[in-house]
Symmetry: C2
């Protein structure tokens, strides 16, 4: 390994520090995951045990085989998710420090290429490990269950048991996302506020005791959290598609490959992603700053194109040309006198191809719209940056308005996908669209994880007091990562919405409500539609508040350390080191404590609704949560992303403000083009009033974009899959009308 | 009139100024209303003319009588709404100055009583004028149409034509709320920012050229806007109830009084409100600051109790005991083999009483929950105030979380009301619940309008440079007004939700879709559910952005005036006065310009959906807009209200922050209870860092609580009533499947 090209401080000393920081982060990350997974294991044990009984209760009879196998799938799903999160996080932690090291290389072109490649490959390892592991475990699980059930006659039961896998993955994702989200933002907001408000020192300053917790948080929230979230989406989408397919007499009788066709979509996706990943790292490597963002977005576009190309042959190979998507009768009889029935599929491969492509391209467009609204290369973020001229308040107003506005296109695209895929292939089409959107999962994850790796590399460079040029490189890598992380979030939300709808669809199919439709104007349905649409708000209130509470605890601890550790704040030579461990403990404790109430809310709402009010109420609840959650999640993520990048835009000197000459300005002064003497255009930088206003927006955006926004994905999916797994139990209570025996609306 | 008790400045001079300010506000308000109503008249003319043709097209045949009468109702509704708004605003403007004058009286007890009574009576005049006018005009309109239609056989057509009245009222409310909301907040935010950021002078300083615009805005937005909003709710709720009643063969044949029973609810409501209003002004007058809030909330509670007491006899007098809520058959035949059919009413008066009471008490509870979340007497706002300790960012985070959390109870109550009233009396029950909630309309309006009157009285006192004690009184009156205004907003949102659902119900009944239900899992319904739930976000984005843009224009104009008018900023004696008129013009122009796009969005969405995708899509759109809009409106209003009062809490010295001794603190220092020497508890006041942070929240909250939040009410209602009026036209296109001929889902 070469040495840094510009040696401002002692190099050996810096690398020593770097190693120490790496170890601190690793210890902190392991400590958090151990604590979190400890709780998860207990939860899995208790909930899994309860499931054996609840799920076994089918139509008043007890079938413990079903209960036990569902619970087993649940445990396997949960454990797989934990392993995936752990792998991803350890890789990210390794890669953080490596990326900082490679950024010190010379000449510049080598440093750019190598540090980009390290970060991107780190992300890719995570992406491939996670999707590969997920698909393998799921496949083995299915193979195991095939020995227990008779596929021809018991396909529905088989895949219902498998659905526990999705629930397990999603439950862990809940804890990962919410716990990780609270951890990372408590540390981030706490460190920022403590540094700026209390001590007046910059972000990532080594004197700040909360910085290590902040670095751990990036790995815990953005890497492990995002990983388990998308793993959950993948597991659930596949389970939903399999459960729906199993309802179709024609698909079951067409043979094994046709039945597990949904798995092939994901499997092919991994191969395509792998093939495309060499473009970024080898065929067309990054040579300078300007190319980073382009390379990342190209990856995504190429993967989408590649998937589209290979999907038609796959569909044509595995799907029959005509089939009926229902259990009761054969194709010919069912479709003879039912025109416009979306369950009658007359051109299977082509219809499936259309659904999958709709998901693929819809995801890409949602991603790029997200980029448009959150990258400072485009006008929306620049407008937000400009609004800092009149202070923090207008910055917040513009940011919120931007987030609201950014829901328009995604909501339109999602409804277009739903409409098209549903019209083509009923609920099966929706689940295929969800799988299509997740077809680029490995690439998406690689790009997503790339961001926090670079972010942390920058933090490490700052703490290790490496030369300014290193920090500049990691900052540039990180800026591109921020934008692509926004794309990833768009994907995550879009796919969560489709997955959640597919799961709702599977629930509807299971509970046979669809036979007479779900009347939205049934009082109980509408009432729960209203309640469901409130849940995302309640959930967000909890998670945001948790971040606030934990961040304030962190600020107090930092204050305490500055007050009690002599020489720390002044940075006098030989002062005692800050006590990182206590800050890490505060974040860990807070996140473990605060993640419980939101998790309980999400898990008990559908169960309580189903038990007391029946399955129609559950469908109302799910639909309400879905339509309201999507909007809230998109707007929260994009508002936060926009504020973050507006701040970065100001920091890199993009913002100029015209001021009257009499203003007492400091900093670089640039006359306007006409040389007019009345106004001067002042470049705003760190420390200017505009920057301070931008920082307020950034801090507000942190919990929105990294805690409550992404966690809403899980809310939607988890509520739906819990309902699906408990569907038979709900049906066993007063024929699905709940203990309150709510009457179905007469038509 | 007595003179002020403490003469710091020249009294005669102050009163001279006061008169001048009053005239300025009056001129500005008239100018704005003239400009706004000019646009409204054009809109009414064009849209009304178009309606003649669109509404006349029933089942492919042309019935111009229907078209013309609907259009006529539309025009009458619009004009009535404009007259109501005008009356309310002129009264408010008169009362502003009177309230300032009475606050100068001595002794204090007289000043408290008189100034409270002036403000409250001003509000009451507006409340009674508006509800009285509305009900009278509607009654005469119905009487007129009775001469044209045969009630026994054409009741449905009759009330469909009358429904135009609701549309007219609501369309003007749209312009009033959005235009007024943008006006008032552009002026308010602009004046605040210009004062604080540009010049460093306090709010309402007479040197600030934007203050008169700000005062005009309070009257324009909070009085005229709120008035036309609630007038719209009243008109629409009544129309919805009438249209639904007209579908029932039994109700129509039971006689005229039974048919127009919904009007009696509102009529009785006015009498009850009038009787109760004497409690506040005469029986138990306000004697000091502490009593104000209590007197106002007592009013509301007493009105609710009074209404509940008188409602049962009214129901028993006018409603038959058993009836069927459908057109096709008589009660006996329909209900014989339909158990659990909510259309079969077996105890009419009691069921109606329950529905109305549910609305009445639900409204009251929603109001009080709103108060809990927005008054600084309770912990939520105090917690938000405390969060300013760590700066503006945590203040924003806590405020947003508070708003999200505040949706829980209202959403629960609304869904409870919907469930109960729907189960008891089908859609008719929902419309009765809406009318029940609006039964206390006159009192609500009185309380609502009371707030801005006091707010303005304070502004006038400041500008007229009256003694400090006067300002203290008006501030206290205003603080109570803020809280009760929040209650009013809660009411407005709750009633809007119920009204919107009732209108949707009327639409469903009209389009006969209910015969086979609205399947939520029909692709087109679900797709539009998703789009509908996005519309409130789009709409909010537009309105918030508009406020931002207009406020920045205002700031620039104020800057320009300070730069160009010599001596203005320094306040040197004999300087030229600020140019208020230009600031008023900026607010007026901006609001007229910016209110058009949101209005177009709201009006064209349901029409375009119905024309292209059919009636099922429209129902999805309406339901989505409703469930998502309610949450967004509640959270926006309450977040804004909480920030406002958190700021007030800091200003009145309620917030103490513990600081380490080494902090360099100024201001009052209070030792903690134990006399511990380590920490000092510092009272935060105007100008402290906490106050600055609180001001940021307040400014962000302004457009949320006074522009986008309340305007969402109109979005919900207006979309629904437009759909209702155009229902026949939609049905004429491919039998309600739209030009795209979207197939209905086969069951």
């Amino acid at each position: 390994m070469e040495k840094a090209e510009a040696g401002e401080g002692g190099d050996a000393d810096s690398y020593q520090k770097l190693r120490q920081i790496y170890r601190d982060i690793q210890t902190g990350a392991k400590a958090f995951l151990t604590a979190e997974y400890g709780m998860c294991v207990k939860f899995i044990a208790v909930f899994g045990f309860a499931m054996i009984f609840f799920v076994a209760n089918v139509d008043g009879r007890w079938d413990f085989k079903i209960g036990a196998l569902t619970a087993f799938s649940f445990v396997v799903g949960g454990v797989t998710s934990m392993i995936s999160g752990y792998i991803g996080m350890m890789i990210a932690v390794f890669t953080n420090a490596r990326c900082t090291m490679t950024a010190t290389l010379s000449p510049d072109a080598v440093a750019w290429k190598e540090s980009f490649n390290v970060a991107f490959r780190g992300g890719a390892v995570m992406g491939f490990a996670l999707s590969g592991l997920g698909i393998l475990v799921l496949y083995f699980l299915i193979c195991m269950y095939v020995t227990v059930f008779d596929v021809a006659s018991e396909a529905i039961k088989l895949f219902e048991c498998v659905a526990g896998f999705g629930l397990g993955g999603s439950a862990i994702a809940m804890f990962g996302r919410v716990g990780g989200g609270i951890y990372t933002k408590a540390a981030d907001v706490g460190a920022d506020l403590a540094g700026k408000v209390v001590a007046g020192i910059p972000e990532d300053d080594p004197r700040n005791p909360a910085t290590i917790a902040d670095n751990v948080g990036d790995n815990v929230g953005d890497v492990a959290g995002m990983g388990s979230d998308l793993f959950g989406s993948f597991a659930e989408a596949t389970c939903a598609a399999l459960v729906i397919a199993a309802q179709s007499h024609d698909l079951v009788s067409a043979g094994w490959d046709t039945l597990i066709f949904p798995l092939y979509i994901s499997a092919v996706g991994i191969l395509v992603c792998a093939a495309v990943s060499f473009v970024a790292t080898d065929l067309k490597p990054v040579r300078d700053e300007a190319e980073i963002e382009q390379v990342l977005t190209t990856q995504l576009a190429l993967t989408t194109i590649g998937m589209t190309v290979v999907m038609y042959p796959i569909c044509a190979t595995f799907l029959p040309s005509t089939f009926y998507l229902g259990a009761r009768s054969t194709f010919a009889a069912s479709c003879a006198n039912a025109t416009g029935n979306s369950k009658c599929v007359t051109n299977g491969p082509f219809h499936a191809f259309c659904c999958i492509s709709a998901g693929l391209w819809g995801g890409l467009i949602i991603g790029f719209v997200t980029e448009y609204f959150t990258s400072h290369s485009y006008s929306p973020v620049r407008e937000v940056a400009r609004s800092t001229e009149t202070g923090a308040a207008t910055n917040i107003i513009y940011g919120l308005a931007l987030g609201y506005k950014s829901t328009i296109v995604p909501a339109g695209i999602l409804s277009g996908i739903v409409f098209a895929s549903f019209s083509l292939m009923d609920m099966y089409g929706v689940s295929l669209a969800a799988l299509g959107m997740l077809g680029t999962l490995s690439t998406c994850l690689a790009i997503d994880v790339y961001g926090p790796i670079c972010d942390n590399a920058g933090g490490i460079a700052e703490m290790a007091e490496l030369p300014e040029t290193v920090r500049e490189k990691t900052d540039a890598l990180d800026a591109a990562g921020n934008t692509t992380a926004a794309i990833g979030k768009g994907f995550a939300i879009g796919s969560a919405a489709l997955v959640s709808l597919a799961l709702t669809a599977a629930f509807v199919t299971r509970t046979s409500v669809l036979d007479h439709g779900v009347n939205m104007l049934n009082p109980v349905v509408f009432a729960f539609l209203l309640i469901g649409s409130m849940l995302p708000y309640w959930f967000s209130a909890m998670t945001m508040k948790s971040v606030g509470v934990a961040a304030m605890e962190m600020v107090k601890e930092v204050k305490r350390q500055f007050d009690t550790i002599p020489g720390l704040l002044e940075g006098s030579p030989g002062h005692a080191p800050p006590d990182h461990a206590r800050c890490i403990k505060i974040s860990t404790d807070a996140s473990l404590r605060e993640m419980v109430p939101p998790a309980i809310l999400v898990m008990t709402s559908p169960i309580a609704t189903g038990i007391f009010f029946g399955v129609e109420a559950v469908i109302g609840l799910l639909a309400g949560g879905l339509v309201s959650g999507v909007q809230l999640a998109i707007s929260a993520s994009n508002t936060g992303g926009a504020w973050d990048n507006a701040k970065k835009y100001v920091e890199k000197g993009g913002l100029f403000i015209d001021m009257p000459k009499r203003d007492n300005v400091t900093g670089e002064i640039i006359r306007d083009e006409l040389g007019s003497p009345v106004l001067i255009s002042v470049r705003q930088r760190k420390g200017s009033d505009c920057h301070k206003a931008a920082v307020v927006g950034d801090t507000v955006g942190d919990p929105l974009k990294d805690t409550s926004g992404p966690a809403l994905n899980i809310l939607m999916k988890l509520m739906a899959i819990i309902s699906l797994v408990f569907a038979d139990y709900f049906m066993s209570i007063n024929n699905g009308q709940g203990f309150l025996n709510v009457p179905r609306q007469a038509f």
